[in-house]
């Protein structure tokens, strides 16, 4: 089975560390990859693609040197490999225009304002990853312990994908 990654993009290394620390509970199942710029993020996306793995969730800052977070997300939405990736904007400085752009063209799934509540960030991540696995994975059982177990059971029931044998 291929691995599902979480991608965090944030230009300030200290902030990036905090995000990763907040999400560390998920790392056992969803390894976290960090990037400090859109360019580095593209490189990581390429590597993960070449390994045959997937990216389930991208958490992106907006204001960064070089390409902005929203631009990266729009690009990801256009690429087949990252189209299904759940996209979360984590920012304090995105203006209305950039946010509207992200919603309309990157199919932004969530917006979290800085400073964030760590518990909320984890809940959003779990919720988005649950949606991702339900939409994309055949075998849901490995994710039940760490994600929203009730939604996953509900999906198993509705899908009828596991039968008695």
């Amino acid at each position: 089975m291929s691995t599902i990654y979480i991608l965090c993009v944030e230009d300030e290394p200290e902030v990036l560390d905090v995000i990763v620390r907040d999400l560390s509970g998920l790392e056992e199942v969803f390894p976290i990859e960090m990037a400090v710029s859109a360019d580095e993020a593209r490189q990581i996306i390429k590597e993960i693609n070449e390994q045959g793995d997937k990216i389930g969730l991208a958490i992106c800052d907006h204001v960064m040197p070089g390409d902005k977070g929203v631009e990266l997300m729009i690009e990801m939405q256009k690429e087949e490999f990252t189209e299904r990736t759940r996209k979360v904007l984590l920012t304090g400085q995105a203006g209305l225009d950039a946010t509207v752009e992200a919603v309309n063209h990157a199919r932004l799934n969530r917006y979290i304002a800085k400073p964030w509540d760590p518990e909320n960030l984890v809940n959003v991540a779990k919720d988005e990853l649950t949606t991702y696995v339900i939409e994309n994975e055949k075998d849901l059982l490995p994710f039940m312990g760490i994600l929203d177990a009730k939604r996953i059971q509900e999906a198993i029931r509705a899908r009828g994908s596991i039968s008695d044998y």
Partner: protein, 547 residues
């Protein structure tokens, strides 16, 4: 980037070993001649070995193995297949030996271990035991009162038709439309409709209400409701649905509370046990019933429930008591939030009516005499003509389970009619064991195997052996085919030792509330209790109903 967890063997080893064993198994009977086994029996042994290896090690999915089995049967064993298409039994007319009454001269190729075959047609023969008087170059003198001057015998015991009348290929394919498969299809469609209109959830919420707020009674309620639903729906679907009720409860109690363990264990246990309660509860029941049907020993739907429900109840209560001792909950009260909102649309109402009517007709089969397989066409027809189930819903039915069972039934047919099953069991003198010992052996083997294999596969491999012991009489006095087969079926469903034993166990395990050790502990005790309770029923209670 991190490396994945190390495994002792790479994934492909099991696949490779499974494929290799299957191929070797298939070839053995082609190169080795087993005494007393017909040519067709050799072919079937090959199919049996490849199927057993594939079913056990799963180099290919188990339903694919079933399809392979049916394919091999229509090619190798059917009367239209390349081997048997133009085959005809070689004939020899016996000659009376000069001067001796009832002594006949036959070619020595016509005799094996004192058995010759009477030629009853171009493609059919019957066994006859004779007494060997004398052998002379190429010929044997045998004594028998059954032979006359015109008797035609088969001149070659090793001929491919000896001891086997080839079945039409439609027999093997037809297993997919056998009454038991149609019964299951009816059950699947009812279950799919119930899930589509949330009948299962709403029923659960209504049924759980009377169990109040005490944790032990909530568990009892969950177990009883799970068992009732899984008697009619798949054990797995029931478990997934009940877990959506149990998980919110678990999230509200503290992580240390044993109540969580109990919640996660009680549901798969009840789902596994509940499957025993009706013929459609779980696929091994289908294998048992179809094998018995083939021997003219039909079991009505209601009769099955009469023998199984008391067993299920005792097992549920023992499991409940056991968990109460092993995992006493800390909390004393828990308020369940149960909202039921039954769908009242026209389609939903139609579905409720069809569901109720079908279940009533199934249970009362003995009273009105309409076979349950026929009744099953009521939901099949009713749910589709009313568009309760649409094309997409029908596509989503677990068709592979039907193929799995059909392959099992087809293999059983060939094991019986080529004499393979009898040959396999006849090397052991079973009659030294008393009937109860034999039941215990069957139950124990079934329980052990199905802890590691699919329950259906276990039943498929064991039931033909039990049937042939019954029909051949080698099991001795007092052997009941029906009771032995039912015992095996029940034991297959009691296997819940490991997460891999059944899909409900795997679902419960993946919640993370329990450890494998918990499952092994309670699973082993339940297995042993179940075996002995079933044995007690098999000796004291079932004979009153079945014999």
């Amino acid at each position: 980037m991190r490396s994945k967890e190390k495994k002792r063997f790479p994934d492909w080893t099991k696949t490779a070993v499974g494929l290799a064993l299957g191929l070797i198994g298939f070839c053995i009977p082609l190169f080795v001649n087993f005494d007393g086994l017909s040519f067709a029996g050799h072919l079937t042994l090959g199919i049996f070995l490849v199927a057993a290896s594939f079913w056990m090690l799963e180099p290919i999915p188990i339903y694919a193995t079933s399809m392979l089995v049916i394919f091999l049967q229509i090619v190798l064993l059917s009367t239209q297949g390349p081997l048997y298409q133009n085959a005809e039994l070689p004939s020899y007319t016996v000659e009376q030996a000069s001067g001796q009454e009832e002594v006949w001269r036959i070619p020595d190729t016509a005799l094996q271990n004192g058995t010759l075959f009477l030629r009853t047609g171009d493609r059919s023969s019957e066994e006859l035991q004779v007494e060997v008087v004398e052998t002379e170059n190429g010929f044997v003198l045998v004594r028998s009162g059954e032979l006359t001057a015109e008797t035609q015998i088969v001149s070659d015991v090793n001929h491919i038709l000896t001891g086997y009348t080839p079945a039409s290929y439609t027999v093997f394919m037809g297993t997919l439309a056998s009454p038991i498969i149609i019964l299951f299809l009816g059950g699947f469609m009812l279950a799919a409709a119930a899930v589509k209109y949330n009948l299962d959830k709403n029923l659960t919420n209504v049924l759980l209400k009377p169990f109040g707020e005490k944790p032990m009674f909530i568990i009892l309620g969950l177990m009883l409701v799970t068992a009732v639903l899984s008697a009619f729906m798949s054990n797995t679907a029931t478990t997934a649905m009940m877990m959506t009720v149990a998980i919110p409860i678990a999230l509200q109690v503290s992580v240390e509370d044993k109540f969580r363990v109990m919640l996660a264990l009680s549901i798969p246990i009840a789902a596994n046990l509940g499957g025993m309660a009706t013929p459609i509860g779980t696929p091994p029941n289908a294998i048992v019933i179809s094998a018995l049907n083939a021997q003219g020993e039909g079991i009505a739907f209601g009769t099955w429930m009469l023998i199984a429900v008391p067993l299920v109840l005792v097992m549920l209560l023992s499991a409940w008591g056991l968990m109460r001792v092993m995992y006493p909950p800390t909390i004393t009260r828990f308020k369940l939030e149960l909202d039921s909102a039954f769908d009242k649309s026209a389609k939903a109402l139609v579905m409720y009516a069809i569901f109720a009517l079908t279940v009533v007709l199934w249970i009362t089969e003995a009273q009105h005499g309409i076979p349950s397989g026929m009744v099953a066409f009521l939901p099949i027809m009713g749910l589709t003509v009313t568009s309760v189930l649409e094309k997409e819903d029908i596509r989503r039915l677990p068709w592979e389970v039907l193929w799995l069972v059909a392959g099992g039934i087809a293999l059983g047919i060939s094991m019986e009619n080529t004499g393979l099953a009898i040959w396999l069991v006849s090397s052991i003198s079973w009659d030294v064991l008393p009937q109860i010992g034999l039941l215990l052996v069957f139950g124990f083997v079934a329980l052990m195997l199905s802890n590691f294999l699919s329950n259906t596969v276990t039943a498929t491999l064991l039931i033909p052996l039990a049937v042939s012991m019954g029909t051949s009489g080698i099991a001795g006095e007092g052997f009941s085919l029906v009771i032995s087969a039912v015992m095996i079926g029940m034991a297959c469903n009691m296997a819940m030792l490991l997460p891999i034993s059944t899909p409900p166990n795997a679902i419960a395990m993946s919640t993370g509330y329990i450890k494998t050790a918990d499952m092994v502990k309670i699973g082993s005790i339940i297995g042993i209790i179940g075996l002995f309770v079933a044995l007690a029923y098999a000796v004291l209670f079932w004979p009153l109903i079945l014999l």
